[in-house]
Every structure is written in structure tokens, then in C-alpha cells.
Point group: C2
Chain length 163, copies 2
Amino acid sequence: MNIKEKYMKKALLQAKKAYNKMEVPVGAVIVKDGKVIASAYNQKETKFDTTKHAEITAIQKASKKLNSWRLNDCEMYITLEPCPMCAGAIIQSRIKKVYYGTPDEKTGAVGSKLNLFKDYKFNHKVEVENGILEKECKELLQSFFKELRNLKRNERYGNNKNE
Amino acid sequence: MNIKEKYMKKALLQAKKAYNKMEVPVGAVIVKDGKVIASAYNQKETKFDTTKHAEITAIQKASKKLNSWRLNDCEMYITLEPCPMCAGAIIQSRIKKVYYGTPDEKTGAVGSKLNLFKDYKFNHKVEVENGILEKECKELLQSFFKELRNLKRNERYGNNKNE
């Protein structure tokens, strides 16, 4: 396992915490000088707050730790491609590089739906690399949405298994 | 003064609170059924946190008040055009309509630099109207940046006034 996979594994562990709370399983960690300085997972539903995406919370934790909104020498590992809100926060906080696991065709803002890091000139440029532990990151999401569909089906029609 | 100007005036009052703390003066209020349910101002520097833009804090407060991340029937008044992070948060929280005072040529994400509300199809469409109390919103920002430049000049070269 290389170093990128090691950190993505930590992001995946965060994503699993979200899964256990029936949240869309997305996790993120921020690394500075080889150390994880912030870890977070999506808590949108449990906190009733759309700004509680893993990336936003991770940025808040890292800023608190460094006592600065400037995260210039930091790298972020995220299991899923960030949405526009999170990609915007990443640019604003001046994070150096983002590694993500699997693309998000619907709202991905660093390559899939649009590319905030590349297509528009902001005052800070973020590097990006994807496909780190892509299979694991993708399967976790797929398994979550499958379970969610089953739950909703059972809620609606009842569980008809004759056990 | 019409109803839109009334609410923008409240956003301006918030922006002035930011000004008094030497923060870039941006303010926001969220309105539901004719009532202001959340007010906030930019606190990025004082809180050492880039996610402390007025819009993000206002969304968090409104979500807390309504006990829901869905702000469907809410309207937001902002003194300045939102950046990608805030425009993304506005889409995610399903706010119905945004009114803003003055455009932001550098990072404005709903018309100036890009248009997240129009150019990309997300699962929620936000209406937008600009130019509400534009002069006041713009002048507040201009006056802030002028004062900031003077302060920085005095810090660097000293105050040479012979008083």
C-alpha cells in the first residue's frame, strides 16, 4: 500500500462512520507534513445541515488546529469527488492538492460536472489526482445506496418475506 | 423603500458588523414567510476559518432554526454576489431565490466569474436577482478596502503626518 492509499484508507474509515449513521458515506482527511491534522465525515442528515459535508468539517477542524484559514501546505484526501460548495471551500482555504477516490457524475466539481480547479482562474490553483482506492470508495457508496433503496422499499411495502 | 430593499438593508447592517471587526463587509439574511429567520456576517479573519462567510453561517443558522437542511421556501439577501463555495451551499440547501447587492468580478459564482445557478444542471435551480441597494453595498466594500490600504500603508511606512 503506497502513501496515498494509506491516507485514502483513513478517509474511507471516516466514510464508514457516516455509513453507520445512515449518511451518504463520504470521508475526508487533511494531511500536513505527513501527519493527519483533521478527519471528518458527512453528517448532513444527522445535523440537519447541508454544510456538514466531510470536506467542510475537515477544513474547519484543520483551520482550528493551525489557527489559520490558510491551509497552503495541506493536502486533502476525499473518498468522493467534491461538490461545488466543497471545491469552492478547498480553493478558498488554499489547500495545495486534492486526492479523491471516485468521481461524482451528478455534482462533481473538479472534473465530472464542471471543473472549478481548472476552468476558471481564481487566486489559488489546486492540484488534483483521482482514482486512489477508487474501487473501495465506489463500492462503499453503491452498497449504501442499495441498502437505502431496500430500506425505503420495505418501509413502503413492508417486508414480505415469509420467515 | 420596497420590501427587497428592506431586507437588503438588514443584510447591510450585518455587513457593517463585519466592517467594525475589520472583516470584508459582507452580510446575509434568510427570509421565510416574510420573517428574517437567520442573519450573519463574514467572520473569516476573526474565526481563522474560510468557511465563515456570511452565507454559510446564515444557512447553518436557518437550518438549525427549521431543524432541516432543506430551506426550500426561503429567500436569501446578500450584499455581495456569492463565491463558488457559498453558491454551492445555496444550491444544496435548496434556497428558492437569492437577491444580491453588488457583483464580485473576481470570485462571483452566479453571473460574474461563472454562473453555478444557470450554466450547470443541478437537482435544484435557484432564482437570482441583483442590484438591490447596489450603491450602498458597493460603497461599503470600497470604503473598507480603502481603509485597509491606508492602514497597511501606515503600518509599512509609519504615519508621517506632522500633527
